[in-house]
């Protein structure tokens, strides 16, 4: 199928399958899946700028589907999502500016590659340690099968004591997040977490859900199911902003994004429904390979010089 905007000739079946796989991951883990979508689009010959912009457009649609499904399960904290969107957009701008500065200095590829490998490996290692420790301590107490109602949102973490002391930081203004079960938390803390996620999004590319989702769980103390749903809601806002910005620069082939999304729409629903069958620590444990895939892609490009 010929796509006139980007001038690419790509099989629509390939696009639907890629969208379906990323849709499942997005619905289940609350990530955009750029680290797979970008290389998958590059593999079939789409220019890098189009791969980035088109992927962002597809993420908007996929997240809309997943959020509607998560909302039906009570997994979305709208207030938290809106606040985080502000921090994310601010962080993304700063990250993008830093990339420009490194480009001018002439060593952007090496610096970004090394930082991203360190970040990905750190997240995976920490989440593997925490989720395994939590699962061992909870052995026999976690519900089996479909977990329903408020009980299913109750989350246990081996990192819990640290999270609680972070939550107790009294930096005015303090706000309540009743949907997430948090009585009081500093607004600045939420903005900081969102800013860091946005910074890595602008700096490393993609939506940086692999940083934001764990940060929401471990730093803000949001239950995993809610972190997944709320992160997706926040992704709608930040990815729409990114899509607009890239489309104006001529980096979005919306026809490719629409075709990819036909697969993602059904995948995202399956992923969102699957979260109802798993307790928080199990979702976090299953999350561990995602940043490792990201790290593997960066290591490959660093050593071979081929940008996937």
């Amino acid at each position: 199928m010929f796509f006139p905007i980007s001038g690419a000739d790509i099989s629509p079946i390939y696009l639907v399958i890629v969208g379906f796989v990323i849709g499942i991951m997005g619905g289940f883990f609350g990530v955009g899946g750029s680290f797979i979508a970008g290389p998958a689009l590059r593999l079939v010959g789409l220019d890098w700028n189009f791969a980035v912009g088109t992927d962002l457009a597809h993420i908007v649609g996929k997240s809309v589907v997943a959020v509607r499904q998560h909302r039906a399960f009570g997994n979305v904290d709208l207030r938290l999502g809106c606040i985080m969107a502000l921090g994310t957009i601010g962080g993304a701008e700063v990250g993008a500016q830093l990339i420009q500065a490194l480009k001018r200095a002439g060593n952007v590829n090496l610096v970004v590659s090394i930082i991203s490998i360190v970040v990905y490996l750190s997240i995976s290692t920490f989440m593997l340690w925490e989720s395994r420790k939590t699962l061992i301590s909870q052995k026999g107490r976690l519900p089996r099968g479909k977990v329903k109602g408020v009980k299913s949102k109750e989350d246990h973490s081996a990192f819990g004591p640290v999270t609680r002391s972070i939550q107790q930081l009294k930096i005015w203004p303090m706000i309540a997040l009743p949907a997430s079960g948090i009585k009081e938390i500093s607004l600045w803390l939420i903005l900081f977490v969102a800013f860091v996620g946005g910074f890595f999004s602008g700096f490393l590319g993609g939506g940086a859900g692999y940083i934001r989702m764990p940060s929401m769980v471990y730093v803000l103390g949001i239950p995993t199911h809610l972190a997944v749903g709320t992160d997706l809601f926040e992704i709608i806002i930040s990815a729409s902003y990114g899509t607009f910005s890239h489309a104006v620069k001529g980096n979005v082939d919306i026809l490719i994004a629409l075709v990819m999304h036909t697969g993602a729409a059904i995948g995202a629903q399956i992923g969102a429904i699957c979260t109802q069958y798993f307790a928080g620590p199990k979702i976090r444990l299953a999350f561990v390979p995602l940043p490792l895939i990201g790290a593997a892609i960066v290591i490959y490009t660093l050593f071979t010089g081929h940008k996937l």
Partner: protein, 80 residues
């Protein structure tokens, strides 16, 4: 339990088959007609194209989700 799982999987397979037919029809009809117009828009009016792109994406998301929900309800209704 196994009977229930088999029933769910069967409903899902039927849903996927119908969904695939709808998607193929969508490719040939909607994208064929939209392609030329979007190409013109992208080359001449970038800001309008950017807004239309986001609206199309959100619109398709809402429509496709409603279609899959309806399909699932219809298939389950017939199976049940």
């Amino acid at each position: 339990m196994k009977k229930e799982t088999a029933k769910t999987l069967r409903a899902f397979a039927i849903e996927l088959a119908i969904y695939a037919l709808l998607v193929v029809a969508y490719f040939f009809l909607v994208l064929h007609f939209l392609g030329g117009w979007l190409y013109q828009l992208e080359s001449q009016h970038r800001y309008i194209y950017a807004s239309v792109a986001i609206l199309l994406m959100i619109g398709q998301a809402v429509v496709l989700q409603n279609v899959t929900t309806l399909l699932l309800r219809f298939i389950r209704g017939r199976a049940g």
